[in-house]
Symmetry: C2
Subunit: 274 residues, 2 copies
């Protein structure tokens, strides 16, 4: 009988937490930007935490990564060939986009140590960075968006929550730069938090995007290891996002019906977007 149990808990508030029993803590490092931890959990495989919040687990990362890549892929009016990912240092989004056949993927991650940690502990995800059509840049995505002369069909903001290093990724001035580097007929998407526990994040995303894009629409997905299990993404474009422009084979979460129905928002979520 093992007398000591080790648990990693993510505190959703002072009064609520989700706890994973862990076999081992594989790493804990404080970088210039944030604290990174990796745990080997019993139920979810390896788990990456940043500043105490779950970023991904081996068991359920597929939901987040499919929904943040396949959705912009089918709703881009122009056939997507070039994509920019801001954040995404685990390589998951780049890997999904590469599978979708994009010709060029630029991934700008601000914290090089996220990439190093994932290289060691999530090699299957981070392998995408070795692909010939993927360019990995360790740097500030906000600055990159402001200064690059390249344009993209899909832009994915795969960031942490809108506090700390990711705060600027929800700003209106950031989306002004994004607009300039997005091709006509392209789409930009950002993760926009849990409508239940972080009710302001989805509104922030809309507020940042609306001045610059004709259409801004949120969609949701179920992600068991994210706070409340219910997550939002917000997408913007200058064309109608009402119908999809191309078909994709189903993933493990994404399928054709989900790609349309995920735009339906529960009534209380609608009230968060003004």
């Amino acid at each position: 009988m093992k007398l000591i149990e080790n648990w990693f808990s993510e505190r959703y508030s002072d009064n609520l937490q989700l706890s994973f029993r862990v076999k081992d803590q594989l790493l804990s490092v404080r970088t210039d930007f944030q604290r990174i931890d990796v745990f080997d959990t019993y139920d979810f495989g390896k788990l990456l935490s940043i500043d105490g919040t779950v970023q991904l687990t081996e068991r359920d990362e597929f939901v987040y990564h499919e929904m943040i890549t396949m959705m912009p892929f089918v709703y881009s009016k122009v056939k997507p060939e070039k994509a920019l990912i801001i954040g995404g240092g685990d390589g998951g989004a780049a890997g999904e986009l590469a599978k979708l056949g994009l010709k060029r993927i630029v991934n700008v991650e601000i914290d090089g140590q996220v990439i190093e940690v994932c290289r060691k502990h999530f090699p299957d995800l981070v392998r995408s960075f070795t692909l010939e059509n993927v360019e990995l840049i360790v740097g500030d995505g906000i600055k990159y968006a402001r200064t690059t002369e390249e344009k993209f069909d899909i832009i994915i903001v795969d960031s942490t929550d809108p506090v700390g290093p990711a705060e600027g990724l929800f700003n209106e001035s950031f989306y002004k730069d994004i607009k300039k580097i997005l091709n006509t007929g392209g789409v930009v998407v950002t993760q926009s938090g849990s409508p239940f526990y972080q009710p302001t994040a989805i509104g922030l995303a809309h507020k940042g995007m609306k001045p610059h894009f004709a259409k801004v629409k949120s969609y949701t997905a179920f992600i068991p290891t994210y706070p409340s299990g219910f997550w939002s993404f917000t997408m913007a474009s200058d064309h109608d996002i009402g119908k999809s422009y191309r078909e994709l084979p189903a993933g493990k979460y994404f399928n054709k019906e989900i790609s349309a129905s995920c735009f339906s928002l529960p009534e209380f979520v609608k009230t968060l977007i003004t």
Copy 2:
């Protein structure tokens, strides 16, 4: 500074738990059927737990109760006038149905002490049992379905998980009886668990319903205090459940778009239903 913190944890497995900080434990009682606890939590108000699993909290019960009543209401082909609820001893489902204007609601709860506990701690929910058009029966719902000579337009199986007292509510022989007491054009719906943590429950519901009904369809909703935050319901009828037959004003979760889109199942959920 308070040195002692009290937490109620629901264990989703040996290796995963969601914990609520509580101001007080208001009640703990073992009945002939199950153990009932009521906690006063900081974030979710009062919380009712049966056998250690969250049944409802004041803050998020609206999702479950809207989705288990409004969905059968709009998908019943016949205008719903008479409803049967099996389980539902908290009165939440009966209350929602009463608001929808049903003429007669019969609520059969097996454990009288659930009703007594809720009468004391959730008076706003349980008040529905005092309405003139609501008949409350303390008894075995399986036996009631087998022996009643009354017929209903909507039948709601608002039970605990398919272990313990609710096990029989997922059986094929139970749905044979349900079929006999369901009016032509009516619908039956049951909660069918978390597709992520209880992957067999949704299949059990289909297996129980399929021999007796032409159409069986599952839908999902996001319920933050239920395991994984993602919950399924399964509905059966002899008519097409593809389109709704009447409109309802939006609730706090339910609205017209949700009533259609909630039938879209993520790919991994489809594989649970054979």
